[in-house]
């Protein structure tokens, strides 16, 4: 079995279109959360988010012609993957494109519904019914012919592979926070068994859209503490009442450790394990004990060959929902036992917002950066710790910490949990 290293990190978030601005602002305790400006959110109970505005396409080599085939989420993914790749600095031509893998995780929906607007409105009868025959005829003649290509779920794989000639193993995972971490975990396993030499893997999300809010607002999982602005996102705090969404993407460049060392690459950390589990009652009655979180953590400790008390830092999920933060805490405590009392953890969602399908990948990036730099970003707005969420969450201020082993955690909305283990080199 081969060993796997992280040699590049790419983050785009509302804190900054790049890893450095995002990381330094996370450490400073800055937040990008504010009132939504991308659309008129007054119909919704949740009206705050972390928006990426004025995304610099050209900085990432995205040509206008290609941009027309991408959703904004695809653009974030491509940009983050590009940043990770630039940092790793592989000579892909010498390596052979077939030895280069790409795995992505997203929550992409049916293209941009606005492409269908004119045809829908023209086919609507005054009584509110829709004439589907008229719709078909009008849409066939007038809809942007590539709207369906734009909506292709896994096209992030295409854009990355086409731009960089990476043609190896791949998959696109559809889901929420677990999906981007599944992508990274799957890339890790592919490199471990020697199926590829290098890989780009991560997750992305175009969160702040009217369409997304029209889906999520009634589910009761978003914070409506609009008057608090950046304070609306309060993982583990007594006053929390839901998630605050954020735009962005995070990708890692992974490669075989000896290959990285041979070419003198900067190594952030070694990836030592991946674990995933599912709460199969989540749909009807989620387990308040976070059994799936505990199971994913136990699985990752097992593959990494790590004892719980050797873990120094956990990049936690902290969705900010009432039940989610409690069951996460219980799951962590169940897996770590007494070692949980010495564990340092933090959730960065107060800074970047919840990147949904990008959130797990962002946690992997945060864990790698923290391990490399010996600094832990804080959990913001943690003023009164919920007594059911007892753990050292690094409230409000970053801290220095020598990190040997770290774990990134992610949870999906249907009951998924996944975890990635990293070790300092």
């Amino acid at each position: 079995m081969k060993r796997v290293a992280v040699t590049g990190i790419g983050i785009v978030s509302a804190l900054g279109a790049g890893t450095e601005p995002t990381w330094s602002r996370l450490l400073r305790g800055d937040s990008a959360i504010g009132p939504i400006t991308a659309f008129d959110a007054s119909s919704f109970s949740s009206r705050v988010g972390a928006e990426i505005r004025d995304f610099p396409l050209a900085d990432f080599g995205i040509k206008p012609r290609t941009a027309r085939l991408m959703t904004r989420g695809d653009q974030f993914a491509f940009a983050a993957a590009t940043l990770a790749l630039r940092e790793a600095g592989w000579d892909l031509e010498a390596l052979g494109g077939d030895r280069a893998a790409v795995f992505t995780g997203g929550n992409k929906d049916v293209s941009n519904p606005d492409h269908l607007r004119d045809a829908c409105l023209a086919a609507r009868n005054p009584d509110g019914s829709v004439d589907i025959t008229r719709f078909g005829a009008i849409a066939t003649d007038s809809v942007y012919p590539l709207f369906y290509v734009e909506g292709l779920p896994g096209s992030s794989l295409f854009f990355i592979s086409e731009a960089y000639g990476m043609t190896g193993p791949n998959a696109y995972f559809a889901g929420t926070a677990e999906s981007g971490l599944s992508a990274i975990g799957t890339a890790f396993r592919a490199l471990k068994r020697g199926e590829a030499e290098v890989a780009l893997a991560g997750g992305f999300e175009e969160a702040i859209t009217w369409w997304n809010f029209s889906k999520l607002d009634a589910l009761g999982i978003l914070s409506d503490l609009n008057e608090l602005g950046a304070g609306a996102s309060r993982s583990y705090d007594k006053g929390r009442n839901g998630s605050v969404l954020g735009d962005g993407a995070a990708f890692l460049a992974l490669e075989e450790l000896s290959f990285a060392q041979k070419r003198g690459a900067v190594v952030y950390a070694e990836v030592t394990g991946y674990g995933a589990a599912f709460d199969n009652r989540a749909l009807l009655s989620p387990d308040p004990g976070g059994a799936e979180v505990a199971a994913a953590l136990r699985a990752v400790l097992r593959e990494a060959g790590m004892a719980a008390d050797s873990v120094d830092y956990l990049a936690s999920h902290g969705s900010g929902t009432l039940l989610g933060d409690v069951s996460e805490t219980r799951g962590i405590r169940a897996a770590f036992g007494p070692a949980a009392d010495n564990l340092v953890a933090s959730a960065v969602k107060g800074g970047t917002g919840h990147l949904v399908a990008g959130a797990g990948a962002l946690n992997a990036a945060v864990a790698a950066l923290a391990t490399k730099h010996g600094r832990v970003p804080p959990t913001l707005n943690l003023e009164q710790l919920d007594p059911d969420c007892e753990l050292d969450w690094t409230p409000n201020t970053a801290r220095e910490l020598a990190i040997g082993n770290s774990i990134a955690l992610a949870r999906g909305i249907e009951g998924q949990a996944s975890a990635l283990a990293l070790r300092a080199i």
Partner: protein
């Protein structure tokens, strides 16, 4: 050392039948499942036919109403296929620990009904953007891609790894490949893997039509419209359905006395890095994925007897796939029996690779290759043996499964007869 992986169960809901044995019988019988589109009134559209699932009764597979409540059309197919696959494998809840049972699924996110989408857009337009529609939680859940995974996890006591993969038309070959990897790596002992899709909606028919991917010919003779490798092919026919297989750690399956239908011995995936909607004419990405799957299996080209081809019935795919097979198999390509289940079922998109796995597993189990139907005038430029119109008895030691996708991803699997 990678653990060996057995295929011990299959379940299916397809245009050819609402279970796996009926689907297999129709495949070897050369029956077409293509008919008029019944999911919406297509009279204003350019395409009027599809491979439709008929007389599907979800309540039979999922008796509990509260578990049916959030299942979409595709989600219902998926759960029914899982229930059948677990029964076929004799692996209900209780076989292995819940944490050793995983789900690797391929599918699509659900589409909003036209009237709801129109209402949202109308409301926004009329109010100048000030009023936006809040979708009902139940509607959101019905369209969520992972809700069927949650339902099957509840029914089948799955608490191990789960994933939903959506690499379009290659997705279920990917998902079965990833499930195979989990067992190889020891991350699970049993994985239900496969795909489910029902892109037989107004939105998808429109989308594929605008790209010119669907045939507009043979609207009056739907059963003749899907004609892979034929001179008169002109595009694919959309189908719907689900195919799920049970994969198991071989050693554990043998220990519990399971019937081994086939062994999964190779998986390879690749990207074309060419064009988003076209495959490269030289078949390069497909060559790479087939070669990777074959290399992992340790088999030589001479060890493969059957290929369940992607065979979409588009001019481009059938040509580049043929070229790719010739590149990988060389002189052996002339000897191979190759057929496309899409000639009968239509293109099951995210479930297409899994349908090919059903065909390959059936070919190994029954030592019979299903045919490619409607192959009346083989395209003179495509000169391999596509098992025209009638199934064929032959020795099948191992079979290759092909799945290629829009977006330029490819996934291939090798299944072999279990030899002990």
């Amino acid at each position: 050392m990678a653990r060996r992986v057995a295929l011990t169960g299959i379940g299916a809901v397809t245009p050819l039948g609402n279970d796996a044995p009926t689907t297999w019988a129709a495949l070897v019988g050369g029956q077409s499942g293509i008919g008029p589109l019944t999911t919406f009134d297509s009279s204003g559209f350019k395409v009027h036919i599809g491979g439709m699932v008929r007389d599907f009764d979800l309540a039979r597979a999922v008796p509990e109403p509260r578990l049916r409540r959030y299942l979409s059309r595709a989600g219902g197919f998926a759960v029914a296929a899982v229930v059948e696959a677990l029964a076929d494998a004799g692996a209900p809840a209780g076989v292995y620990e819940p944490g050793e049972r995983g789900i690797s699924m391929a599918g699509s996110v659900g589409r909003p009904p036209l009237h709801e989408l129109t209402e949202m857009l109308h409301l926004r337009e009329e109010s100048g953007g000030a009023r936006l529609y809040r979708q009902a939680p139940s509607a959101v859940m019905i369209r969520a891609q992972n809700v069927p995974v949650a339902v099957m996890a509840q029914i089948g006591a799955f608490q191990g790894p789960t994933a939903s993969i959506n690499t379009a038309c290659a997705a279920s070959a990917h998902s079965i490949g990833e499930g195979y990897r989990w067992i190889q790596d020891g991350a699970a002992k049993l994985v239900v893997a496969g795909g489910s899709d029902a892109l037989t909606t107004y939105l998808d028919v429109l989308g594929f039509s605008l790209l010119g991917a669907l045939t507009e010919q043979f609207a009056d003779q739907p059963e003749r419209a899907s004609r892979p490798f034929d001179r008169d092919r002109s595009g694919f026919v959309l189908g719907e359905g689900a195919i799920m297989v049970v994969l198991e750690d071989l050693e554990a399956a043998l220990a519990r006395g399971a019937t081994i239908q086939a062994e999964v011995v190779g998986f390879g995936s690749s990207m074309n890095a060419y064009r988003i909607t076209d495959s490269p004419p030289d078949g390069s990405g497909a060559v790479q994925a087939m070669a990777a799957a074959l290399a992992e299996s340790g088999l030589k080209p001479s060890g493969i007897d059957y290929i369940a081809a992607h065979g979409t019935s588009t001019p481009g795919n059938d040509s580049s796939e043929t070229i790719a097979i010739k590149k990988v198999f060389g002189d052996d390509s002339a000897r191979l029996a190759i057929s496309s289940p899409k000639s009968m079922a239509g293109h099951l998109t995210a479930a297409a690779g899994a349908l090919n796995v059903l065909a390959a597993a059936g070919a190994i189990r029954e030592q019979t290759a299903p045919p490619t139907i409607n192959l009346d005038n083989q395209d003179p430029k495509l000169d391999l043996d596509y098992v025209a119109n009638r199934c064929r008895r032959l020795e099948v030691r191992a079979a290759l499964v092909n799945a290629f996708a829009f977006g330029g991803t490819n996934a291939c699997l090798v299944l072999s007869r279990f030899e002990g």
